[in-house]
Amino acid sequence: MKRRGDAALRIWRNRSRLLLAVFALIGCGLGARAFELQVLQHDFLLGQGQERQQRVVNVPAHRGMVLDRHGAPLAVSTPVDSVWADPRELLANKDAWPHLAKALSVARAELAARLAEASEREFVYLQRQVTPSEGARIAKLEIAGVHLQREYRRYYPSGEVLGHLLGFTDIDDRGQEGLELAFDAWLVGNPGQEHIVQDRRGQMIKRLQSVRVAQPGRDLTLSVDKRLQYLAYRELKAAVQRHGALSGSVIVLDVHSGEVLAMVNQPGFNPNDRGGFRKAALRNRAVTDVFEPGSTMKTFTVAAALEQGRVTPLTSIDTAPGRLRVGQHTVRDRHNLGVLSVSDILRKSSNVGASRLALAVTPEALWSIFSRAGFGQSSGSAFPGEASGSLAEHSRWREIEQATMGFGYGLSVTALQLVRAYAAIAAGGVLPEITFQKRTEPVEGERILSQRLAAALTQMLEGVTLEGGTGQRAAIPGYRVAGKTGTSKKSTAGGYSDDRYMALFVGFAPATAPRLAAVVVINEPGGEVYYGGQVAAPVFSKVIAGALRLLDVMPDDPRVFQASAGTVGDAS
């Protein structure tokens, strides 16, 4: 009995041990699994979970507006939607393709080809920058795998009128040309990022934290006056068309502050129409293109002669017989102008007279005044692609070069440099600091001429637009205008061309208390008429007449008050 009992007990004990062992094993297994999940794979699993629920989303930030000096919008970023797809999802959902193709207004085959090409990727743009209403229509279709992304598109309400000055942005709203490029860092918005929790349908449930706060771009107020800009645009375009010219530029400056009030070029382009850009039309010629300034330089030759005390405005210079031999070369006038005073050299634009004056001063003196007036160096406007022109060091000049420099050949300048140098004369000898931004406080420029010299030059330049001067057509009724014409032959491979010219006029008004300086450049007028005084001067007159009226500048021509006294009440 006892043996049987013992045996039973042992069996029972063994069984219970086995059972315990099995339970212990199960317990260990569970523990190990729990350890694996909770400790070893914890990060991986947590990551997986969060990947399904949590997202870091971009918060778009718009680009700053560009405004004119009176606050009119010139460039505005408006929200648009870009349609993108996850091809892996969309490829599985072929039924929706016809609807989608219709909503995007693309051919079905094209859509299929696009998706097939991108089938390995997770992201493909179907269409960028559709209007918000089109975007809403696509969102309404609720096609799995098709999503919208908020973006901004740049619009330029003034179109071609401000095309060159503003430039444009690329599809990602980054500046590519013009002021959009120059001030990109100021204008650009920094998109933010947010960490969010979303539900199964992709709706945001909770914002966990802001990774980076979105910073919209800052607005930029330009020095440009939209009304003057349009005026300059209209007159330049008309003149370029009338004369069949290749291209042209107009710049209007505030002579005291150096603010650019208007800057236009032809041919132009419409920055809203990204597809239709022609490379040649994109250039802001007023700052990127250089040319030989021709007769417009004579003013500074005269300035050098006056500054050195060689002559006074009334000194007589004999230019007969309209030719001057310098070494092996001959400088010519169009006609024999005989004996001229120094003012008459400017008024009649005599090459011989200017050469004589240039040869009467030291090369250093001539170079110095050209250099002080800002030729041969960048104007500091910071406009992308600005050219600095060229002005050779005086120690390398030969005699003939010194003579031709005197009437503007042998150096090259930009339209901006030219108008800035004349603005210095207008401002009493202080070279203004060029800016495209509206100035809130005055910036003192560098003095390059004495006040007396500037006043003397102004008086002589007034003669150019009066009876008998080459620039009569630049005259503006009611105002006194000072300026200088220029007609420069274009240099070609074998010397100077005889039928390709640049017609120039540069000047300022009103002469008694100058406010505005402007330059008009017409490149290769095609017809019989090609002199600066015939082609460029009328544009100057129209633009500045309109600008003075818009800016409410008091007429300063004393003849006005005598003449108008008789016409009181006769306004019909």
Binding site: P73, R227, F561
Partner: protein
């Protein structure tokens, strides 16, 4: 022992009410998030509308158009200098 029971009886409703509080604030926060989203959407819509109107206005008010209307419809012209009166203050 008695003190424990009393504490438990007191703390249980507190526990339940804070639990409900958590649920409630969760709910409120979610609906606020939804509201925030809606407001942002509204802001975007207004921005879109504003820039559309801005562009529309500048299209209608283009200098070229205003000038053409003034000339053609209203028969206006830029006065020549002879037609002007200069008034000195």
């Amino acid at each position: 022992m008695r003190a424990r029971v009393v504490a438990m009886l007191l703390l249980t409703p507190v526990l339940i009410s804070t639990a409900l509080g958590v649920v409630y604030t969760q709910h409120v926060s979610r609906s606020l998030v939804v509201q925030l989203q809606e407001q942002k959407q509204g802001r975007d819509d207004l921005n879109i509308e504003w820039s559309r109107l801005l562009l529309e206005r500048s299209t209608w008010a283009t200098h070229a158009r205003v000038e053409r209307l003034a000339r053609e419809r209203l028969g206006m012209h830029t006065p020549s200098f002879a037609e002007m009166e200069v008034v000195r203050r």
